[in-house]
Symmetry: C2
Subunit: 246 residues, 2 copies
């Protein structure tokens, strides 16, 4: 399929089943966190899923190469970003499987059926929007800071979309762990599984991945920590495995 | 000072300023967790502190060799255990500094001034008391299971005893992290600092140590993880350092 590239855009090969994605060099590009989260999402065959704040569409696109879900909706508030994600979906011929919705995630439950989805995924903005130096129309800022949606918006929306025992997967900063856990419980998403990501052995964690189950019973399990770099400064085998390059 | 030892009792050297402690071989003996927690308690000079569920008295006794607090109260519900802890206090000539109270921690705020203490410490029972096979009069069971006090009892009592910005220090199981964080916030103890303890690199965490500040502002910092054993199966330098044996 011929897909037109705009200024500053390039096509990146995802090294997974021939999947490709369009990125805009001037905007926020997907990072390792999206790849790690995608790999963490143990969604079942035929699942219906939603990705809140899909950005480039990386999560539903990459996940289509790893899991056999039936339908994914990627919610993205920024019109140009959503339009680019749509072209990436077409580029991979995934129009049947992935639909990009250019809507505010706070409106998602008006467009998507509540209490219906098997999994909701989110790699949301990590940073609080309480800094005065943010330009609120800047795509990078919107992707990184809680300008258009707060952590609570993400969790509330996920809770509404999920069916009973459906899973919510999120990657976030460890500094927000207390907020995350309290908000999850407030919205009846029980934290069930957590994985800490460290740059290297001995370092404090950089990121956390968490799975919560709607109306699940309290029982939090820890995964083994994930170290990104080994003593030699190279990626660890665990990272190579996640990137499918072992 | 001559201290009478009872059947099954022995005196252990704490390898810190000549401090010693009496243990009963048939009861729950203090473990590494108490030593790690004591080391984690960064209490200021002249602090007034309370240890909830003090057991052998290990935390206030060992802490007296590490920090210059002015007064510690050790709360212990089990009469024989509290009596043994009192003898350990005398053995170290610490009667001026440490007072063991043989009371239910749920009654602690009737005996100790609320909103007064700089730090409250607890190495509480870790296990839920929902197992039918527990003998509820067994000292080991009472020390290990939430028979006489729940996690919520410990946190509620700590919150009442602490003054504004006073610190609560606790060691517990990672599986209870969601409960711990939600209960802390419920009682206005803001989680500020957390350290994960792993048997060795790559293992999931075995224990967590957490510091919460009464009415503190939300900002959770992670410490570097603590690994107990190195690749060689020996204690790590970090552990030797905590034990004062480097």
């Amino acid at each position: 399929m011929n897909i037109e590239l705009k200024e500053n855009e390039k096509i990146e090969d995802l090294q997974c089943n021939g999947l490709k994605i369009i990125q805009n060099k001037k905007w926020f590009c997907f990072g390792m966190d999206a790849v790690l989260l995608t790999n963490y999402c143990n969604v079942k065959n035929n699942s219906k899923i939603v990705d809140l704040g899909t950005g480039t569409g990386i999560i539903p696109i990459l996940l289509s190469g790893k899991r056999n879900y039936s339908k994914a909706y990627g919610v993205e508030i920024q019109t140009e970003v959503a339009e680019m994600a749509k072209r990436s979906v077409e580029l991979n011929n995934l129009q049947e499987k992935i639909e990009i919705l250019n809507i505010d995630l706070n409106e998602a439950t008006n467009h998507l059926e509540p209490h219906y989805f098997d999994a909701v995924i989110s790699n949301p903005p990590y940073k609080l929007s309480n800094s005065g130096i943010i330009n609120p129309t800047d795509q990078k800022a919107i992707s990184r800071h809680e300008i258009k949606c707060s952590l609570e918006d993400v969790i509330r929306t996920a809770a509404t979309l999920l069916k009973q025992y459906g899973n919510f997967y999120m990657i976030h900063r460890p500094e927000r762990l207390a907020d995350i856990i309290c908000l999850l419980r407030q919205y009846k998403l029980e934290p069930k599984q957590i994985r800490f990501i460290h740059s290297k052995v001995g370092d404090k964690p950089k990121m956390i991945m968490i799975r919560a189950s709607k109306h699940g019973k309290p029982e939090l399990k820890f995964d083994n920590p994930l170290y990104i770099y080994g003593d030699d400064g190279k990626y660890t085998d665990d990272v190579y495995k996640i990137y499918g390059m072992e």
